[in-house]
Structure formats: C-alpha cells, structure tokens
Amino acid sequence: MEQYLTHLSLKKIAYLILVLGTALIVYFQLGAVQASWMFFSAFIFSLIAPNTAQLSSLIKFFLQTLLLILILLIVGNTFVPSYLQILMILAVIMILARLPARYSKNELIIILVSVFAILASMFPLHFAANLTRCGMMLIGFFIAITWQLIIFYHQNNLRDAEVMLVTALNHLSACIMSCFLEPEYSENRYSFEYRLYKQKTNCLQSFLQLEQQIKVSASQIEQTRFIQFNLIFDVLVSCAQLRFRITDFSVLDVCKIELTEIDLALTRVWRAMLAKPEELKIGITELKWKIERLDDNFQHVLQVSAPEPLVLLLLIVNLRYLCNEMMVMVDENEIYLNK
C-alpha cells in the first residue's frame, strides 16, 4: 500500500488532476470544433510524459511531439489523394514498427502515434483547418508539459531512483521470505518463482535507472552507495539460494518463528531506509538480534535435526553479511544526510 502514498505518487495524482482541470477549462473556453483534439492530446501527453523536469528529457519529448505534429500535417490534408494517404500511413507504420528496437522501448508511444496518424488521415481537412487541428494538439502538449515543469521542477531524480530501488529490494526480500515461510511453496513452486522473477527484474531495472541518474550527477558518494546497494542485492539473492538447496521444507517449520521475525525486521529496515534514516541503526540492530535467535535455534536444534545443516548455516551467514552491508549503508547514509 505504501507505494500508492509516496510523495512521488501523490505528485503524479496532483499533476493528472491539474492537467485534467486545465484541459477541461480550455476545452470549454475554446469551444472550437477541433477542441476535442486538444483534450485528447493533453491526456495522451500526460500519459507518456517523462516524470521529470530534466531538460534533456523534455527536449526529447518536445522533438517527439514535433515529429508527430509533422506526420499529422502531412497525412491529414485533403489535397493528398486518398490512395496516397493510405500509402503514407503504411509507410508511417513500417517506420514505427522498426523504431522500438532501435530507438524507443516505449511501445505505447508507437501505438499512440499510429492511432493519431490513422485518425488524421481518415478525417482529412483543408490546410487551414488541419493547421488548427495541429495547433490544438500543441496546446494539449503545452498543458501537459507546463504542469510537468511546475510539479516536477524541484524533484530530486537521484533520490527518487533510490527510493524506487529500496522499494524494489523491500518487495524482493518479502518475496524471498515468503518462499521460506509459505507452506504452499513446494506445491506451487512456479507461481512463487514467477513472482520472484518479477521482483528480481524490477530490482535490476531500478538499478539501471539509479545508475543513469548517478551518471548525470557524477557524484562519488552516490557511486559508493550504488555499489553498496549492489552488494545488498547480491547477498539477498544469495540468501534466496536456500529454497533450491533444501530438500525437506518441513525443516523450516522448526524455525518459522525466527524466520517470520527476520522478515518483519527486514521490512522495518527497508522502511527506515525509505523514510526514517534516523531509525535505520536501531532497525539493523534488531535484525542482528533476530538473526542471533535463528542461530541459537540452529545451534541447539537444527544442527542436529536437519538433514542438511550446512545449507541453513549458509543462510545464517548470508543474513549476517546482509546486516553488515546494511550497517555500511548506515555510514553512507550519514554522509548522505550531512551532504
């Protein structure tokens, strides 16, 4: 639930409401026949706009829009014979179909441009009316982009990318622990693995986003923090190895309480990393204490009763590594906060 209420998502909701409100006001003020295109384009652009006020992203977005307007100007004219329009639409579709692999990975933009091109070509207008239509689309674009600049101007992209990464790591650790704690894992292995695969993918993509932002900021501290996050991810994945190594999952019932406590402590640490850095140290200390409880159980019960005690020992060791890496992160955090 927390992902729906972060300051970023609230910003996005505010942005969408403002675009919606402005588009409605402008729509009724203009009252023109072509005003629907303005309304339509304001929403399309708010849907595909980059969630940033970075100049390079906005310029790229503006150029994409100009290209779209140019396509509409060409295909939406009555002086172009209809067979030629069909040919142009086909050419546009062929070019667009080639784009995803070479230029943009966002397939939605390609689909939307095709929809616009088809609509414009099927309802061709005289040059002046067509120009008005394109002008309306530009107004829609400017509504979306103006609010974008206002709302996202003071956005710390680096911090946002980090928040997304920590959220992704939180979900990954919860997913890993669910494999150990849910009795259904051994029966519904593929559905658990699919969830885990999605969380791992999410983490990898968040890493790439953060890496891009670090490249922009070129900060040494951020670079160090990034490597630290990498190590935390590596250890988390290493902890997850237990699900493949263990042959008898009933062994985990013996330490279910300890594992549940570790799961809760981990969630608290991620939350502290996101919102309450001052509580991070306490959270990690608590996590350490929970790991020691699991170790106690291991020393007294599991070491004797488990058929493969080594794999459980490796889990405990990896959890300790995780704690250590998080502790290093606390120091990084202090530097980060003092910066």
């Binding site: 996005k12 339509f40 069909i86 086909l90 062929m94 692999a101 609509l119 885990l196």
Partner: protein
C-alpha cells in the same frame, strides 16, 4: 510463409500493413452503405490494436483487446450527457496514467493488463470526442468484429511469431551473457564494478528483449511446451542467482584469501562450468552441429578434497574462522552451478 526469415520488427510492420490494406479494401467493398469512411476507420483501429500482441498467446490476447474495445464503444453509447462523458473519459485516462506511472510502462510488454485499461480509455475518448457512436452502434460493432477478425487472422497466418524460435533466441542471448561473465571472472580473478554493472545490463536485456519467458506463465499458452519452458526459465533464473551470490563472495576477496590449491581447484570447476555454458549456448544458437559435452565430475571431487584439507569437516568448527564459511559457501555455489548445468544439458533432446 514460415520459411521466409525476416527480422521480427520488419515482420510485424509488414503484417500490420497487409492487415490495414485488407481493412481498407473490406471497408470500401460495399459492406457498409453509409458512413463508409467512419466505419473503415473503426476497422483499421481494431486491426491496429488487436495486432498489439506478443508471441505465445496471440489469439487470447486479440480476443481480450477486442472485448475491451467493444466495452468502450458500448460505454460511450450509454453516456449521453456531454459533461458526464468528459468526466468519465478523463477519469479513465487518469486511472490509466496513474497505473502507467506506478508500474513504469516502459518496462512492460504489450500484453500487460494495464495496456487494456489504456486501450479502453483511448477508445472511449475517441468514441466520445472524435467519432460519436450513438447513431451507428450496430455498424460500429460489426466494423470492430471485422477489424478484430482481420487482426487476429493476420497475426496467426502472416509470418506468425514462432514461440519456439523466440525462446531459443532468448536462451542463446542469456547463456551467451552468462558465459561472457564467467569468462571475465576466470580472466581477472576478482569482480570489479564493471562486472556488476555489465551483468545488470545483461539482465535488463534478458528481461526486455524477448517475452518468451513471460509467455510461459500465461493462461492459454501451449500446454505441451509450458512445462519445458518453465523448467528452463527457472533453471536459468537460478544460474543468474548463483552468479550474483558468487559475485558477492568474490567482491569480499574470497579467491584472493584462498590457499593456492583450493583456488586452483575452484578455477578448474569454474572453467568446466563455463564450457558447459558455452555448449548450452551453442545448442540454442545452432542445434544441428551440437554435440553433448561429457564431464566426469572429477574436478568437483578434487574441489571437495581440497576444501576438506583446508576447512574443518565438523560443522561446529566452521565458525572458527569466517573465511572457512566463505570458502564452503563459494564451493557450494560452484557445485550448485554444475548441478543446474547438468540438469539443463540432460533436459536437451
């Protein structure tokens, strides 16, 4: 048609072009007596959207998109008040845009359910604002059926995406990436930053380039292929995890701290693992000239022996030095990797 080997994007573009030509011809063939242009546009829109499917389950995805389009047109016909229509379409777009923001649309394949919400709001707003549907509801529904039919048939008959080829290609890419990474471990002894980033880059490529892994989990996917695909997807995922885990240990200088004999034996296992990876990758690239490699497991036995001379056999004594646990962990990762590779090779026909 299947035998013509053309690029995936080009194939998709050509297929769409042929489908659109068919849509225009059918639209103007006299099937509609009035509003021919308007109804042809609906056919073309249906063709365009129904074609936005991925390999694996195109029929199911096409029918879903058609149903969503139909629902949007019917909803538009029920909204007579202009203000109400504007608010409903705006809310739908808001929902779609917020969903796109939360899930990060750039990562998603076109068969993600969020695209259906986007298509719904798109068709709703077109029906309400640009091409009002009230007077022509029956004809528009007919046009949508024709468009969806053309879209689905073209997807199934014109250069259909071969699930098998997609899967084969994706496996070859992944295995090649993993093999390169293991090479870099062998060559340089220790993991540097660039390796971590390299693998991440590779990971991104793995997850986004081809969606065959995703399709193996979808409802409606070929049942005979599903179990095999899932097995390979799971094992490849495990291989990636093992490499991440090894990377962590290497970043903590496990190899540098190891006694020479143990390090040598570890590298020997790593080299054989890499040979097996290469063989697997070769199989997926070129099945015809593939010969199953044989490995005796002697290197694993030698590694166990070397480990036993360094690390105490008793579990309780492993705690004496943190390095002992690290060596045992690293050796375990190497053995797990071999086990996975053996399983994958044995699963090949």
């Amino acid at each position: 048609m299947k035998s013509i080997s053309i690029n995936k994007d080009l194939r998709q573009g050509l297929r769409l072009c042929i489908a659109i030509i068919a849509a225009v011809l059918i639209g103007h063939s006299g099937i509609f007596t009035h509003h021919v242009v308007l109804l042809s546009t609906w056919i073309i829109l249906a063709v365009l959207l129904v074609n936005q499917t991925t390999a694996g389950t195109p029929l199911r995805q096409g029918i879903l998109i058609y149903t969503v389009m139909l629902a949007a047109v019917l909803s538009a016909s029920l909204l007579n008040e202009k203000y109400l229509a504007l608010i409903v379409s705006s809310l739908c777009f808001m929902l779609a845009a917020y969903g796109a923001y939360l899930i990060n649309l750039k990562k998603l394949p076109v068969n993600h359910p969020l695209f259906l919400v986007i298509y719904f709001s798109l068709i709703l707003i077109i029906s309400l604002q640009i091409m009002p549907v009230n007077l022509l509801l029956h004809d528009i529904m007919l046009a949508l059926i024709i468009g969806a039919g053309i879209g689905i048939i073209s997807h199934l008959c014109l250069w259909p995406d071969s699930t098998e080829n997609n899967f084969r290609q994706s496996m070859a890419i992944i295995l090649q990436g993993l093999s390169k990474y293991v090479h870099s471990l062998i060559d340089e002894n220790s993991a540097k930053k660039k390796h971590i980033l390299y693998l991440l880059q590779e990971g991104n490529q793995i997850e986004t380039v081809l969606d065959s892994r995703q399709s193996a989990y979808e409802i409606g996917f070929n049942r005979r292929l599903r179990s095999g695909y899932r097995f390979f997807a799971l094992q490849i995922g495990r291989l990636l995890e093992i490499l991440f885990a090894m990377e962590y240990l290497i970043s903590k200088d496990v190899i540098a701290k190891m006694p020479d004999d143990l390090a040598e034996k570890s590298f020997a296992v790593l080299r054989t693992n890499n040979e097996l990876l290469d063989a697997l990758s070769h199989y997926f690239r070129d099945q015809a000239s593939f010969a199953k490699p044989s490995e005796s497991g002697d290197d694993i036995a030698a590694l166990d022996q070397a480990l036993a001379t360094v690390v105490p056999n008793q579990l309780a004594l492993l705690d004496i030095s943190p390095d002992y646990v690290m060596y045992a962990d690293f050796a375990r990762e190497l053995k797990d990797m071999r086990e996975v590779l053996r399983g994958l090779l044995n699963a090949l026909p």
